[in-house]
Structures are given as C-alpha cells and as structure tokens.
C-alpha cells in the first residue's frame, strides 16, 4: 500500500516537472521527453552554481545584476557543452543584505550540496555566512563585498573576490588627492560606520606615509542629521583645501550642499558609496566637480563588451552595478572547477590561485589571501550631471 502511494506521488511529481519543462524552449521539451522515457536512467549530472545576495529589499539593485551575470555565464558554458560534461545550473538564494537571512541562505546552499557560490552582495552578510561555508568546504566568491578584513585577516581560505577592498580604495583616493590634485591640507570626515570609517582611516594612513599632506581634521558625523553646519565651519576653520568623505551619498550630498552655501568651495573626494547617480540627483548643481572612487571598469575590455551585449539581448536592458565583477566571479569559479576536473575543494582553491582567466575586469587570478590580482579602483568626477572617468 505504502509503495503504491509513493509511486503515485512520484508520478504526479514527474508530470509536474514535465509541465514545467514544456513551458521552456523546444529543445528542453525533447530532453524532458527523453528523460521521461528512460525512467530507469540516473538523472543527468549537474553542476550547481549558488548565487546568494540581495535579490529583494532596499538594495536589490546592487544584487540582481550578479544573478543575471551568473545566468549569462552558465548559459554560455552550457551551449559549449557545460563544465566537465555537466550542465551548469544557477541556484539563487536571497539574503536582502541582512546577516540573519544570509546565514539561512548559506545553510540552505550547504544542505543542497552546492560546492561553489557567487556571493554575497554586502560585506556584513558575507561575514556572517562565511563560517558556515568554511565548515562545509564551499568556495565563495563575492563581486561586491569590499570590507578589508574578509580577505586580509586570513580567516577564510575559502573566500575570494573580484573587487578590490576598502583599504585599497582609501589609498586610491588619497593618492589621487596627493598626485593629481596636489592638495596640501586635507579634512577627513566619515560616517562612523565600518565602511566609511575604514575608507577614511586607510586614506589617513596613506597621507601620513606620503608626508606631503597634513591631515587638518579627522572626524565622524552622525548619519541622518538635519544640519552639518558645525562640521562645515570646522572644515573652513581648519584651512583645508580638500575634503575626503567616507560614507554614503545621503550625508555626502548634505555636506557638499552646506559647504557651498557657506562659501567653502574646495575639492570633495568620496568613495563608491557616493558614486551613485542618486548623489547627483540629491545634491543637484552642488555635486558638480565632486570626485568619487569606484571599481575600475575597462570600457574597451572585449569580454565586458560581449557580456554587456549578451545582457541586452537576454534581459533587454543595460547591465547594472557590479555586473562585470559578478561575471568575472562566475567565470573564475567555473573555470577553476573545469581546470580541477571536479568540485574537490582543495583542487578548486589551488586552481583559483594558479589559473589566469580573461574576464570583464581584466586577466585575473587570485593572490594568497583571495583578492583578485589586478582589480583596482578608478577615480570619477561629476561633469555636467554625470560621473566621468578621470583616472
């Protein structure tokens, strides 16, 4: 009696699967038919690529392009016969950029026996989920988590990323101020958060090492305030010829607006939390001339051009934030599995460290700590209401 029930349920489930298959292209329909005919045959082997990140919520716009990138890479490889003869399947897990949901997503991916994961979108959730992946020997690669400690402390040999980190970003901004803008005295302001303060501290250190610039002011502000005139007056009194701000665009636009109102018209440099069109919208004309660092994009990169074209064809829109980094991450992970010949943890990690691969962010491999060699930051400036590459 029991086994009959089981068979009926199985039959219904298979019928359901077929119905799903029929919705797809003709080719898939045939495959589904073939699979249904050969009932005894084991299901075709699949290589599952986990994609975890913010797919809904406030900052879904930072996470969804990653999912699209993974789908495109999988599709391209599948058309060429897959990886090690296995078809690549993308499995998405949403964490809404929340640490508590990220650990759920990680546990779920681990229980599905996923060996490689692209993610997560934000630094905090990535940090929360990494111990779970580490215990299960899952290789994780983030396109956008820039917190310095994730790789530099060395706790997670299973973690890699295709974007550079905050320490480098602060250094890039400071070096730009020293060598290109030739500033003499700088005021560093930050929002007291991990990200903003990290950026500010790394810039401060770079200035100290450079010795040509004095840091006249180093202060944190309260986010969400209605008025930053006190700190603006302080910047003015310090005689700085450049402000370096670590944090996100809402405060950056308030500060730059108040600076201009008080007649403080000096250089303004910030980070990729400000390199967003919303900054230009909220600060209006005051945004004009402001500098911000952001991940380096190689506009003339062939792989990127092709990936962007594929994206337009597949999804009907231009690729979003961190798309090149995500595309590179999916490529690098799948390439490593191909070179390793299996999803064996040690072999995949070794392949990531040794195998060079052509990606939208350049030809990369990963250093001993897991950071992509060659990935770096560029400096952009607001010109006529748009961010344009300066250096």
């Amino acid at each position: 009696m029991k086994s009959r029930w089981f068979l009926t349920v199985l039959g219904v489930a298979m019928a359901g699967l077929m119905a799903v298959g029929c919705g797809g292209e003709k080719k898939e329909e045939k495959k589904a038919d073939a699979a249904a005919n050969a009932t005894a045959a084991a299901p075709a082997k699949k290589l599952v690529l986990g994609v975890a990140g913010a797919h809904s919520g406030d900052i879904a716009s930072y996470g969804l392009p990653t999912l699209n990138a993974a789908k495109l890479v999988a599709k391209e490889l599948n058309a060429k016969g897959g990886v090690n003869g296995m078809q690549v399947e993308v499995l998405a897990m949403d964490d809404q950029c929340k640490p508590e949901l990220a650990t759920n997503a990680a546990t779920k991916l681990v229980s599905e026996k996923v060996a490689i994961v692209v993610g997560h979108t934000c630094s905090g959730p990535t940090k929360a989920a990494l111990p779970i992946y580490k215990d299960a020997k899952v290789v994780v690669m983030s396109p956008s988590a820039t917190s310095t400690e994730l790789t530099q402390v060395g706790n997670y040999p299973n973690f890699f990323r295709t974007i550079s980190y905050d320490l480098i970003q602060g250094k890039a901004a400071a070096e730009f101020a020293m060598s290109e803008l030739k500033v003499k005295k700088v005021a560093i302001i930050h929002d007291k958060g991990d990200y903003g303060k990290g950026f500010a501290e790394s810039a401060q250190k770079t200035f100290a090492d450079g010795k040509t610039v004095t840091v006249a002011l180093f202060e944190g502000i309260t986010t969400g305030g209605v008025d930053y005139s006190a700190v603006v007056q302080k910047i003015k009194a310090s005689g700085a010829d450049c402000v370096l701000y670590g944090g996100y665009y809402p405060e950056a636009s308030k500060i730059i607006t108040q600076m201009h109102k008080k007649g403080v018209k000096i250089h303004f440099i910030s980070d990729d939390g400000v390199k967003d069109d919303t900054f230009i919208k909220t600060a209006g004309v005051d945004a004009e001339g402001a500098y911000a660092t952001g991940p380096q994009v190689l506009a003339d990169n062939e792989v990127f051009k092709k990936a962007a074209a594929d994206h337009e064809k597949e999804f009907g829109s231009k690729p979003g934030a961190f798309f090149p980094q995500a595309y590179a991450a999916a490529q690098a992970l799948l390439n490593a599995v191909a070179k390793a010949g299996s999803t064996d943890y040690d072999k995949v990690v070794a392949a990531l460290h040794s195998e060079l691969i052509e990606t939208p962010v350049g030809k990369i491999k990963f250093d001993a700590k897991g950071d992509a060699e060659g990935a770096s930051f560029s400096v952009y400036q607001v010109k006529n209401g748009k961010y344009e590459l300066v250096k």
Binding site: D58, K192, E219, G220, I221, T222, G224, G225, V226, D227, S229, A230, V231, Q233, K234, A237, Y249, P250, S253, K254, T257, K261, K262, G263, T278, K281, T282, A283, G284
Partner: protein, 300 residues
C-alpha cells in the same frame, strides 16, 4: 569670535528646525497627555506632499515663491486630514484605556505609515527642490546664515507666538485648556471634548507639515525614514523644554541645537549626540518637568 558666531548661528538654525517639529509634539501632549510617536511620520508625509505639489507646479512653470506657498497650504491640509484620521483610528477607541495602550498604538501607527510610504513611493532618497529663494540682501551674510535658515527661525518663532495666542485668546483655545485641566469636568460644562481633541491633532499635524516642507527644502532630500530621527530629536527638545509647554518646545529646541553645534565645533562631532543627551539627563535631574514645564503634583 567669528568662529563662535558661526557656531552660534548654526546652532540657532539647527535648533529652530527641532523646535518647529517639537511644537506639534508638545501641543498634543499638553492637551491630552499623549506622546504622539506618529508625529514624525506626519512630518514626513507633509514633506512628500510638498514634493508632489512642487513637482507638478514646477512642471507648469510657476514662480518659486508661489510654489512654496501653495505647497505649504496643500501639505498642511493633507497632513491635517492625516492627523484627524490617525486620531480617529488609533487613539480614540483607546480613550478610556490605560495610558500605555495609546502609546503602543502610536508606535504601531508610526511603523505603519513609514512602511506605507516606502511601498507606495520609493525606498530611495528623493531630491527636494529648493523652494526658499536666496534673498539678495542676505548675500554677504550667507557665510553665517543662509536665507533658508532665517526663514525657519522666523517661522518657528511666529508659530510659537501664534499658537500661544490661539490657546490663550480664542474660544477653541479656552476649550483646549479646559480639556487639558480636566476632561470630565469640561464635558460636564458643555465642551465637545471629541471635537477639541480632533482640532488639536489637526493643528499639530498641520504644524508638522509646515516643518516638513520648510526643512526638506532646506536640506534638499527626503525619504520615507526622515520622520523617525527628526521625531526623536524633536521629542528630546520637547522634553528638555518641558513637554506640554509651547515656549518650552522652542527653548528646548534651541538649547539642543546650540549644545550640538558647540560640542561639534569645539570638541568633536563624533560626540555631539553624547553631549546633547548628557545635557538632557542633567536638566531632568535638576528640573524633572523640563526647563519651562510646570511642576505639578501627581494625582494618586
């Protein structure tokens, strides 16, 4: 000395922003002894309404000053309607309940309104047009005080004076004072208490909308969460000045603004909130009812 003056004026404008929001808080508390936590959200809704009206009128090519006036009027009416409805839905059914119940209901309303605006509008920050034009004669002093700062200071003071007059000299004001003193007694002598409370909420919400539009156009950006922080700071200002006292709200706002401004200017902006709240604790230790609050013996 110039630096001191800059900080003083910065604190003055910051303080009058707090005061403008605190006035509505303190008025509602003064009449029905309810801390209306949804006040910050009404402020935010007023700002959003102002943005919508300003957007439409700008597209029609109206001059800035008339846009400001019309945006203010519509935002006030819209927020007053919100205040009226919120009171009827969330507070009136709890009129006889213990004091904690409407407080929880107010927090619930605040969360509801925030999320409603987030879903109906957008979770992103939106740019708010600068509706307060820079007056020419202020040009040389812009370094100390921008026109929008001046505008907010003047508005806070005049709203304070108007409110005091309203409560002292009008019939409705008299009814409000009666309700505040003893609700049951007021009812017995023929005051329509429900109406008085509705009017209180509508006036308070209208004031929040005035604050919302002016402050948003001073800062230049809004999103669904601005009401929360502004509400907390305004609440602090109201408590500092003596909750329930109308001049107290303005004084409390200014004291808070100056404390933050000087702490940031002379010590470090890292600690401005620390100083602001230390001051609050100190004042409440020595004057538990706030700076201008009446020391009342509790009915037991």
């Amino acid at each position: 000395m110039e630096y001191f003056l800059q900080l003083f004026l910065g604190g003055l404008s910051r303080g009058s922003i707090y005061a403008l929001i605190a006035l509505g808080y303190t008025m509602v508390y003064g009449i029905i002894e309810l801390i209306n936590f949804a006040h910050g959200e009404i402020y935010m809704i007023g700002a959003f309404m102002g943005l919508i009206v300003a957007g439409v009128l700008t597209a029609m090519g109206w001059p800035t000053l008339s846009i400001l006036v019309i945006a203010l009027i519509i935002a006030v009416l819209y927020s007053a309607a919100y205040g009226y409805t919120v009171e009827k839905i969330a507070y009136k059914p709890l009129r006889g309940a213990p004091r904690l119940a409407p407080l929880i209901s107010a927090i619930g309303m605040s969360i509801l309104l925030q999320n409603y605006v987030m879903l109906a509008q957008t979770p992103d920050f939106l740019p708010f047009p600068r509706l307060i034009p820079d007056l020419e004669f202020m040009g040389p002093y812009a370094n100390f005080l921008a026109t929008s700062d001046l505008f907010i200071i003047i508005t806070s003071i005049s709203v304070m004076v108007a409110l005091t007059m309203f409560i002292k000299f009008t019939r409705m004001g008299k009814a409000m004072r009666a309700t505040a003193q003893n609700r049951k007694m007021a009812m017995l002598v023929g005051v329509n208490v429900d109406q008085v409370i509705s009017v209180t909420f509508m006036v308070g919400s209208g004031l929040a909308a005035v604050g919302g539009v002016l402050i948003a156009s001073h800062i230049g950006q809004i999103n669904f969460a601005i009401g929360f922080l502004a509400g907390i700071k305004a609440f602090t200002a109201a408590v500092l000045g003596g909750i329930g006292s109308i001049p107290g709200a303005v004084l409390g706002g200014l004291v808070l603004g100056w404390t933050e401004s000087f702490a940031a200017g002379y010590i470090s902006s890292d600690y401005e909130d620390v100083f602001a709240f230390c001051l609050l604790v100190l004042i409440l230790i020595f004057r538990p009812a706030g700076l201008l609050g009446k020391q009342r013996s509790q009915k037991v």
